[in-house]
Symmetry: C2
Subunit: 340 residues, 2 copies
C-alpha cells in the first residue's frame, strides 16, 4: 500500500509521483480550484500510495491560524466542568476544530501566566476559559490582548465575552422553592466562590433577603464531598436547620450521608437540595432534589461564540441557559408545617 520512504512524505513527493506540480496537489486537497478528473485521479492514487498526510503546521503557518481551540479550566473531572468540556469538544469536532485542554492548577499570578504561555505557545484559533472558580477568574484577567477569548461562567462579567449559566437565578429559584414550602430559612454549603456579588451563593443570599428571612452564615466546603459530610455531622445535631442548599450535588450527597448516619430523616426532618443535576443524584435514597444546569449546551454556545469572534460574524443569540428545578425526594415541608 504505502511505499517506504526515509522520511514522512511531503507534498513534493506526491507531486513527483503523480507527475503534476505541487500546487495542483494542493488544489486537489483543498478543492479550492477545479482540477481535471484525470490528474485528480493520479494525485489521489499517489496520496494513497505514499500514505501522505498534509502537515498541519505548514497549513497553519500560511493560513495564519489553526483549527484549534484552547480550553483553560481549573479542573476537568468535576461534573459541571467535564460536561462543559464535552459540549465544547462536540461542537468543535462537528465544525472541524480540535480542542486542547490545559488545567490551571492554582490562581497565583505565576502559575496562571505560565499556564497561559504554555497554551498559547501553540497556534490556537481561540480560547475558552472555564470561569467557574478563582483560577478561572485569574486566567480571564491575565489573558493577553489580541487573542479571541470567551469565558464560560455562572454569571455575566466584563472584559471578555461571557457565555453564562445563570447561577444566581438558579440559586434563587431553589431557595424560593424551599421558603415556599414553609422553611423559615435555608442554610447553604457553598462551593468555592467565583465572585462575591454573583453566582450560587449570591442568589441564595438574595432570595433570603428578598423574603425577609434570616441569612445564616455561609459554610464553605471547597469541592470536597467529605468536607460536606463533616459539616453535615455537626448540622445533624442542630434543630434549627430544616433546609440546606448545597453548592453542587456532590456536596449534597456528602451531606445526605452524614444525616443518614446520624439518623436524621430526609426530607421529613431536613430538606436537602443540590445543584447541577448529577445523574447519580437521582439514584440516591432519597433521590436528590437539584437545580439542573445544561452544561453541555453552555459548552456548545461558548464554542459558537468563539467561532463568531474569529470569523468576525454576528455571534449567535446569546441566550443564557435556563436552569431547571428538578424536585425529587430529598425536599419537602419542614417538620413544623407537617405537624399542622
Amino acid at each position: 500500500m504505502s511505499r517506504s520512504l526515509s522520511r514522512t512524505p511531503a507534498i513534493t513527493d506526491v507531486a513527483k509521483l503523480a507527475g503534476v506540480s505541487v500546487p495542483t496537489v494542493s488544489r486537489v486537497l483543498t478543492g479550492s480550484v477545479p482540477v481535471s478528473p484525470e490528474r485528480r485521479e493520479r494525485v489521489l492514487r499517489a496520496i494513497q500510495e505514499l500514505g501522505y498526510r498534509p502537515n498541519g503546521a505548514a497549513r497553519a503557518l500560511i493560513k495564519g491560524h489553526q483549527s484549534v481551540i484552547a480550553v483553560l479550566a481549573g479542573a476537568t473531572t468535576r461534573y459541571g466542568y467535564a460536561l462543559t468540556i464535552q459540549g465544547i469538544e462536540e461542537a468543535a469536532r462537528l465544525a472541524g476544530y480540535i480542542v486542547m485542554i490545559t488545567v490551571i492548577e492554582a490562581d497565583d499570578p505565576e502559575t496562571v501566566s505560565k499556564t497561559i504561555d504554555l497554551a498559547l505557545a501553540n497556534p490556537v484559533a481561540g480560547v475558552i476559559v472555564l470561569k467557574f472558580d478563582p483560577a478561572g477568574i485569574a486566567t480571564v484577567r491575565a489573558m493577553p490582548p489580541g487573542v479571541p477569548v470567551v469565558a464560560v461562567a455562572g454569571s455575566r462579567g466584563s472584559g471578555v465575552p461571557h457565555v453564562v449559566l445563570d447561577d444566581t437565578t438558579a440559586a434563587m429559584t431553589a431557595t424560593d422553592y424551599l421558603l415556599e414550602l414553609g422553611h423559615r430559612t435555608v442554610h447553604h454549603i457553598a462551593v468555592p466562590l467565583a465572585g462575591r456579588r454573583s453566582g450560587r451563593s449570591a442568589g441564595w443570599r438574595k432570595a433570603l433577603e428578598r423574603a425577609g428571612a434570616e441569612v445564616p452564615p455561609l459554610m464553605e466546603a471547597g469541592w470536597d464531598p467529605h468536607r460536606a459530610y463533616e459539616i453535615g455531622l455537626t448540622l445533624a445535631d442542630r434543630d434549627d436547620v430544616t433546609a440546606v442548599l448545597c453548592g453542587n450535588d456532590e456536596l449534597a450527597i456528602g451531606l445526605l450521608r452524614a444525616l443518614h448516619e446520624k439518623g436524621r430523616r430526609v426530607p421529613e426532618e431536613i430538606s436537602v437540595v443540590g445543584f447541577d443535576g448529577h445523574p447519580l443524584g437521582a439514584l440516591w435514597s432519597p433521590a436528590l432534589t437539584t437545580v439542573q444546569q445544561d452544561f453541555v449546551d453552555v459548552g456548545r454556545r461558548a464554542f459558537g461564540e468563539v467561532v463568531a469572534i474569529i470569523g468576525k460574524s454576528q455571534p449567535p443569540q446569546n441566550s443564557s441557559g435556563t436552569p431547571q428545578l428538578v424536585i425529587r425526594e430529598s425536599s419537602g415541608p419542614p417538620p413544623a408545617a407537617r405537624r399542622r
Copy 2:
C-alpha cells in the same frame, strides 16, 4: 505597554525594534546559543513592548513536530475516562506538552477514520488512545503507521504499546472475595466489552470457572446506570441472586437503588460490588464495596510511554497498576451463611 501594530508582531518586528538580527532574537528565545547580556536585554524589552509571542505553527514546521499529544477517547465524562485524561494532562503539562482531546463517537470504520484524520490534521508529537471500549479498539486498529501511539487498556494487547490497568486480575480479586464469603456464585452486570478474552467480564468468568462455580448469563447494561437500575428491578425478585459484581460503580449505584426500592437489604440479602473507586460510592448507604483502579497513574504512565517512543529512549518500567479491593458496607456473607 504594547505598541499598536496593524498585525500581530512577528520576530522581524522584534528584531527591528531591538536593532538586532532575526536569529539573535530566536537565540534569546530558545537559549540555544549565548547572546551578549546587552543585546539580550534589548531583545527582551522589545518583546515586552510589542507583546510578541512566537508563532507555534512556524516553530512546529521547522522542528518537524509539536509539543502536542492527541488523546482519542470514546468518552470524556465517565469516571475512569476523565481520571485517565486528568493523569495524561497533568504529566503532559509538567513536561511542557499539551493535550488535544478528540472523542470517537462510534466504532464504525468511517467515523473512526474521519476522527483520526481530524486529530492528525494537526501536528502532533504522539497519540494516546483510551482503549476502554469498542470505539477505542477500532481506533487503535485504524491508526496509520508512522505515528507514535500508545494504548491505555484494561489488559495487554498487541500491535501498539499498551499501558495497562489489570482489569482481569481486578475482577478476579473481587469475584474471589465474594466466593470466599460463601456465595455459591456471583452475577455480573457488565459494561460494554472491550475484548472477549480479557477485561472485567473475563476476570469474573475466569474466577468462577476456577472455583468450579456456576457461570450465570452475563447481563449487559451499556454505560447507563438507569439500565442497571432496570436490571436490578428484575434481579430483586430472584432468590438465587446473592452477589452481584458490577462493571463500574455507576452501574452498582443504579442497582443499589433498585434493590432499595424493592426492599431488598444490602448486604444482608444481596451483596453488591462495584468497580473503579468512584468517590461518591463511599457516600452511599450502604457504602459501596469496590475495586479501586489508579486511573490517574495509568494516564501518567501512558504519557511517559509516548514520550519515550518519541525520544526513542527506554520506556519507564512498565508496571501495570495494581487494583485494590476496597471493602465497605455493600458486601458480606450470603443469607445462608448468616443463618448458620
